[in-house]
């Protein structure tokens, strides 16, 4: 099964049309008639587009950009519509990055999964918040969903949830063998931040992960992580845990995922079967919360 991640390093989106052209140009050559593909875009993709199209005005920081974006009440719906069209046009399974949406008066950071017919199969809300995200007024999601796809059971870890190790095991224990992660880590010290994020989660939970990291600027915030496709160390060259990586040139990062091989790795060393939940009671919410 083919997975593709883009990082927008070479993007220059002046209008919705240029975004569509960019996507068609990057993704179409990688598609084959006989095989469906999954495409993952980075976090804050909607914010990037709004900023790039000039819809956020003269904002000088990421905080200002977010505050401006959440005032544009029609933007999330328009963004959704555009991504659904793209999924249909390219005939792909699609995680088009993330968007800030209002729901029942609360503001969430979420990533949807779209099928090749453009239908929204589900949405994953961010579950934990950084200090900066709290200042934006974000609310936490309360569910980690998994979705049945031709790529197996799929889960999504949104943005900074990558650094919360609770997310991966819950998805893995719910059956996810493939995690998609839209991220937007800062350029500074991104290597170690990424090892501490999805790389670690993949190694503890033995799933695949398509990590698409934003690699461009939004209103002075310079995101610059590596876009990576992860697998358990045992099935990657040099035991690096990385199947494919993308640099700063904006080229798509592509990998074929071998589910059978992943299952072999798990059967030899079944980490989730070796869990000892009896010992974890101090962190179960009903028995006392972590501060």
């Amino acid at each position: 099964m083919r997975v593709i991640a883009l990082n927008f390093a070479d993007a220059d989106f002046a209008t919705p049309g240029t975004y569509r052209e960019y996507m068609l140009e990057k993704v179409s050559p990688l598609l084959t008639a006989d095989k469906t593909a999954l495409v993952v875009l980075p976090a804050h993709s909607a914010l990037l587009l709004a900023w790039s199209f000039g819809d956020l005005g003269d904002v000088q920081s990421l905080d200002e950009a977010v505050l401006q974006f959440v005032q544009l009440s029609s933007w999330p719906a328009a963004w959704y519509e555009q991504q659904q069209k793209l999924a249909r046009e390219l005939n792909i399974w699609f995680i088009p990055g993330t968007v800030l949406v209002r729901e029942n008066g609360r503001l969430y950071h979420e990533a949807p999964l779209l099928n090749p017919q453009g239908r929204i199969c589900g949405r994953q809300k961010q579950l934990f918040l950084t200090q900066q995200e709290k200042t934006w007024g974000l609310a936490r999601g309360t569910s980690a969903e998994v979705f049945a796809t031709p790529f197996g059971t799929l889960g999504i870890i949104v943005g900074t949830d990558a650094w919360y190790p609770e997310t991966g095991p819950i998805l893995a224990l719910s059956g996810a063998g493939l995690i998609c992660h839209p991220g937007a880590v800062p350029e500074e010290n991104h290597t170690w931040l990424q090892f501490a994020g999805m790389w670690s989660q993949v190694q503890q939970n033995q799933f695949f992960c398509v990590e698409s990291q934003l690699c461009t600027e939004i209103a002075g915030y310079r995101a610059g992580g590596n876009t990576l496709i992860h697998a358990p160390c045992e099935m990657t060259a040099g035991s690096s845990g990385i199947l494919a990586r993308g640099g700063q040139d904006g080229g798509p990062v592509v990998a074929e995922l071998d589910e059978e091989r992943r299952r072999e790795v798990i059967s030899r060393y079944p980490l989730l079967k070796l869990l000892q939940p009896e010992a974890y009671s101090p962190i179960y919410p009903e028995k006392g919360e972590r501060s």
Binding site: T130, T142, L173, W192, L193, W199, C233, Y280, S291
Partner: protein
């Protein structure tokens, strides 16, 4: 138990009796005992031992080795020293024909066929007494906190892989049974521990989960919830060294759950196993000068080394209180899935 076995164990106990060990320890030249003080800055110097696995035919050689390492740590200013997992396997050299056992395991279908739990049911109490006497004496004599590493410990018919911790007055601060066993240990007949513990030390909370316990984020979340500031992880990893594979234990755990981490390692070849690892001292990215989460790390993965670093506990507490990325909680989300998913997975 056959008469022959009983006689052998009696002989082994006599050869390694506490009086022999204490007498020998008193002859070893060690620095003067220091008063352990922890200044207002909340700084503590810690050391991690990378111990080369070798079989000793005389208990005094084992004692010499441990004392030599402790002396080096104290000379480096250490107030807390951590020894590796299985830190008395070296004493298997006291058993005649033990090397043959390893060769027999190869022909019998691999190391998992070794009757290791049975072996330690017999000699475990004697080996454990050697460790108890040695590390208690060294801790008191040097005024040092010591995580003595872990030891196979028979109890109630079961065998646990148990870490022992000593206070600077020589008293046993506590013990921690390894909770997550490797498949090899399960095949050997070891039993897992059921709880994690944190021990109060003068500098803060100290925990000592063992080796594979650090594979799981839950371990560090639990000990942090119980008050750990420093988490020592003794390891003895029987796999070829690879930097990525070695990165999978304590390093990510320290990044997810902000604590200081100390990894000690048993390395080298012993009884058909090649043990590798790099002892090190680890911290959250924000507390390391290179931003890489490493304060000190051994240069080799298969030779004896001692690494040391100074930990700033006040800085750790400040980071926890104002961490830019971490320390959020979502009890509603967690309660929806845990412990239900764990219970379903166990079935």
């Amino acid at each position: 138990m056959k008469l022959q076995e009983r006689l052998f164990l009696s002989y082994l106990a006599w050869r390694t009796r506490p009086a022999v060990i204490r007498r020998h320890l008193q002859k070893i030249r060690l620095p003067e005992r220091r008063q352990v003080t922890f200044p207002a800055a909340d700084k503590i110097r810690v050391a991690a031992a990378q111990v080369e696995a070798k079989l000793f035919k005389d208990v005094r050689a084992y004692v010499d080795e441990m004392a030599r390492i402790a002396r080096s740590a104290v000379r480096d200013g250490a107030q807390l020293l951590v020894f590796p997992e299985n830190n008395n396997y070296q004493l298997l050299g006291l058993l005649p024909g033990v090397d043959k056992l390893a060769k027999e395991a190869k022909t019998a279908g691999g190391p998992e066929k070794l009757p290791v739990a049975d072996l330690f049911r017999a000699v475990g109490p004697i080996f454990l007494r050697i460790a108890t006497v040695t590390f208690s004496w060294l801790a008191k004599r040097l005024g040092l906190y010591i995580v003595a590493g872990s030891f196979p410990c028979p109890e109630g018919g079961k065998v646990y892989n148990r870490a022992l911790l000593y206070a600077p007055d020589g008293s046993l601060l506590g013990s921690q049974d390894k909770v997550h066993l490797m498949p090899l240990e399960i095949s050997w007949g070891f039993s897992p521990g059921k709880v994690f513990r944190v021990f109060p030390a003068a500098f803060g909370g100290l925990a000592a989960p063992v080796c594979m316990d650090a594979t799981y984020y839950e371990t560090f979340r639990v000990v942090a919830a119980l008050g750990a500031d420093i988490v020592a992880v003794p390891i003895a990893n029987p796999e070829e060294y690879n930097a990525y594979l070695a990165l999978r234990g304590i390093w990510p755990r320290v990044q997810e759950t902000p604590v200081y981490g100390i990894k000690s390692a048993l390395v080298g070849k012993m009884l058909g196993f090649a043990l590798t690892g790099k002892a090190g001292v680890f911290a959250p990215l924000e507390l390391t000068p290179g931003g890489n989460g490493v304060l000190a790390e051994a240069k080799s993965f298969d030779r004896e080394e001692l690494v040391a670093a100074t930990l700033d506990l006040a800085a750790l507490r400040r980071l926890r209180a104002h961490h830019p990325r971490l320390m959020d909680s979502n009890p509603e989300f967690m309660a929806k899935y845990l412990p239900r998913l764990y219970q379903a997975n166990a079935k």
